[in-house]
Each structure stands twice: as C-alpha cells, then as structure tokens.
Symmetry: C2
Subunit: 129 residues, 2 copies
Amino acid sequence: MNIGEAAARSGVPAKTIRYYEDIGLIGRPARAENGYRDFSGTDVHTLRFIARARGLGFSVREVGELLSLYHDHSRASAAVKAVAEQAINRIDTKIGELQSMRSTLSDLAERCHGDQRPDCPILDDLAGS
Amino acid sequence: MNIGEAAARSGVPAKTIRYYEDIGLIGRPARAENGYRDFSGTDVHTLRFIARARGLGFSVREVGELLSLYHDHSRASAAVKAVAEQAINRIDTKIGELQSMRSTLSDLAERCHGDQRPDCPILDDLAGS
DNA sequence: ATGAAGGTTCCGGCGACGGGAAGGTCAAGG
DNA sequence: CCTTGACCTTCCCGTCGCCGGAACCTTCAT
C-alpha cells in the first residue's frame, strides 16, 4: 500500500512516516516500480506501535528501544519496565513543575481584579516588587 | 555593566540575553566604546522580569506581551489577567495529558513482572494485542 | 610578552515534526 | 487524447527556546 493508506491505517501522518524512516526509527520500506514506498501490514503494525508509544509519552529514542525490545523475544521484561519507569519519572517531574507554575499563576490571577484598573499583582510579582 | 555581570545578576545566561535581543524581546542595550554591550540596572530588572515570567511557564511571546503591558501604565489589569489565564489553561491541558499518560503507563508497569521472563504487558499493549 | 578570561558575530544543532515548492505518476472524466 | 486532480517523490526551511562552538577582539594580571 502507498504511504497515504499506511498513514490512514496507522494514524501516523505521511510526513512523519518519512521522518521516522530518515532517522532510522523504522526500516526502509519496499518500493514499488514507480518509486513509491510500498508498505506491508507489518509496517503498519509497527507504525501503530510507534503511535501508541508516542501517545504514552515515550520519546522517539525510547520508542526505538521499545521496538528493538519488542523484536527481541528473549529479552527480560525488566528491560521494558525500566524504560517505562524512566518515562514515568520524567512525566512526574514535568507534572510537578507544571503544578507548581499553575499554583503560583492561579494565586496571582485570583488576586488580580481583572477590570479596567491598572494595578495588577501579576505584573507586580514579575517585576519583583 | 558587561553581559556577564548582567547574566549573573538576572539569572539569564549571556547567550540567552543575546537571543532575546535578536528576537526583539528586549531592546538593544547601550554599547561601550569597545563594542561590548553595556547593561543598566533597568536592563537587569527587565531580564529578571523575563526570567520570572519564563519560570512561571509564559511563552516568550507572552512575556513580550506582559512586558509591554508592564510598561503601559494605563492598561487594564484585565488584559494581564487574560494572558495569565491563557497560560493557566495551557498548563492545565498539559497536566491533563501527562496525567493520562502517567496513569496508563503506571497501570502497564504494575502489571509487568519486571524480571527475567520475556512476557510483558507493556509491549503487548503497544503492539495492540 | 603572554595567557586567561572576558567580550563579539555567526553558524549549526537539538526534538519532532509541518509547510510548501518543484516535479513525477496514475485513474477518471470530457 | 488530454486534462484534471489526487496522489507520490525529494528537498529545504520554519517552528520554539535556546546551547555549543568557531574565529576573532579586548582587557587585565603576571
């Protein structure tokens, strides 16, 4: 199948599929006589795997690790779990940062009248007054 | 003062200060006779403002808006609050996405033995089995 | 005199793509 | 038969917010 159909079936945009090929995340797909990429069902399966993993927050590099772990049927599940826990830690860190920002911001926003008057604790805080 | 001291006093790296100048977030600072940038206390104050705002999660573009609102003493606090609420909404959206990922990931990780055996629900899920 | 520690500009790279140009290909319709 | 439009191809540039490094200049201490 052509890249458009592979994109539709996998949920990965055609541009992104080419990009994944470029960076070596996926192997080079077969080519038809006209030079078009010719994707197999297996290729689409791999793309779906990637799409799901990306959706769960794994980086492209981690997805590469997961893919090779997936193809290595003798690997230990501990290796996979380690990658997942790394991702969880990264996410937790990020959530913490965001919650801290959110908390400060909403404090400031609550104290700001939000009307026509110019005085504003948000700017005052940013200015360090 | 030179860029290095301005960086130390504001917490904004010298490279970043030059970048902010490039993109027009800050005005062009004065230049000494030797061609070095010559920062004033006001410049450092502005840089600190920027550093704080960035730390709260405002985008550089938003920081630009906040700076011009800060300098416009006749603006309504509502305008500032709007920018802040926009940032809060963006942060909330992001937190929601991350929490959803985190939840799925930790479910999967819990169900994964994480030992020498190869069977792993994480990969099974990604493979869509 | 020399070397270190600043400063300057400019160029390139990161991650993970997306947009769009310039051109080849293919099936359907007038 | 020809055209139209929807695909496909490669290529390069832009995004966001910087950071690293090259090549060069200035200043200061030894």
